[in-house]
C-alpha cells in the first residue's frame, strides 16, 4: 500500500476533508429524509391529487425554500456518495493502472451532472416564470 504524503487527501472529494464529507453526508441525509416524509405526507393526504393542489403546495413559500435546501442537500449527498463508490471500486488495485484515468473521467462527469441538476432544480422552484415548458 502506498502512503499518501502529498498533503492533498483527495482532489475530487466534496470538501477536501474526510471528516467534513462525513458530516455533509449525514446532515444532507437527514434533510432529504425529512423532505421525503413531507412529500409522502402530502400524497397520503391527497388521494386523487389535482394540478391545483400539487402546484399550490409545491410553489408555496415554505416548500420552495425547503425544496431549495433539499436540492442543495441532494447535490452534496450525491457527490460524497458517488465519490465513495468510485474511489472504492474503480481503483488501480482492482482494475489496473487505467483505473485512475477512468475514475477521473467518471468523477468529472459526475460533478458536471450534479452542477446541472443543482441549477435545474433551483430553476424549477426559483426560475423566472418557473415551470413553464412546452410538452
Amino acid at each position: 500500500m502506498i502512503k499518501n504524503n502529498s498533503g492533498v487527501k483527495s482532489a475530487t472529494g466534496l470538501t477536501g476533508s474526510g471528516t467534513r464529507d462525513w458530516m455533509v453526508q449525514r446532515i444532507s441525509a437527514i434533510v432529504l429524509a425529512v423532505y421525503s416524509i413531507v412529500l409522502l405526507g402530502f400524497f397520503l393526504t391527497h388521494g386523487d391529487v389535482t394540478f391545483l393542489e400539487w402546484s399550490s403546495f409545491m410553489y408555496s413559500l415554505p416548500m420552495r425554500l425547503f425544496s431549495l435546501v433539499a436540492i442543495l442537500a441532494l447535490a452534496g449527498h450525491a457527490w460524497v456518495g458517488m465519490w465513495t463508490v468510485f474511489t472504492d471500486y474503480i481503483t488501480s488495485g482492482k482494475m489496473g493502472e487505467s483505473a485512475t484515468k477512468l475514475r477521473m473521467v467518471l468523477q468529472t462527469f459526475m460533478i458536471l451532472a450534479i452542477l446541472v441538476y443543482l441549477f435545474w432544480g433551483i430553476m424549477i422552484f426559483w426560475g423566472n416564470g418557473f415551470g413553464v415548458i412546452a410538452v
Binding site: L52, Y59, G81, G93, W120
Partner: protein, 125 residues
C-alpha cells in the same frame, strides 16, 4: 503495523465470499444510491412537467410508463432511506455487533420490502 489481510479484492469475489445479510444490505444501499443518482434527471423532468400546466400534469400522472419510472425512484428511495437510518444508528454505536447487526439488517429488509411493495400498489394503481 504490518497486515497480511488481502486488500483490493474484486467486488465479485467479495460478494461470493461474504453473503451475510449485513454485507448484502450494505451493497444494495450503494446500488440503490447509484440508481437514485441516475434517475435524478428523470425525476427533475417529471417534477418540472407536473408543475408546468394542468395538461402537462396529466401527461405525467396518467402515463403508466412514467408512473413505473417514478415507482423505481420511490422504491430505491424507500430502501436507501431505511438502510440510511440503520447507518445513522450505527454511527451512534448501535447494532454494530455481529448478532445485533444481523438482526438490524433483517428488520431493515422487512421494512424496506413492505415499503417497496406498498409503494408499487400505491404509485401504479
Amino acid at each position: 503495523m504490518k497486515s497480511n489481510r488481502p486488500i483490493d479484492l474484486p467486488l465479485s469475489q467479495v460478494i461470493s465470499v461474504n453473503r451475510s445479510p449485513i454485507a448484502i444490505a450494505s451493497i444494495l444501499h450503494r446500488i440503490s444510491g447509484i440508481i437514485l443518482f441516475l434517475l435524478i434527471p428523470v425525476m427533475l423532468w417529471l417534477l418540472q412537467t407536473s408543475l408546468a400546466s394542468p395538461e402537462s400534469f396529466l401527461t405525467v400522472f396518467d402515463n403508466v410508463f412514467l408512473r413505473f419510472l417514478a415507482w423505481i425512484f420511490v422504491a430505491a428511495t424507500a430502501y436507501h432511506f431505511v438502510m440510511g437510518v440503520k447507518h445513522l444508528f450505527a454511527d451512534n454505536g448501535q447494532n454494530e455487533e455481529l448478532k445485533s447487526a444481523r438482526t438490524a439488517s433483517f428488520v431493515s429488509f422487512v421494512i424496506a420490502a413492505i415499503l417497496i411493495v406498498a409503494s408499487f400498489v400505491w404509485v401504479m394503481f
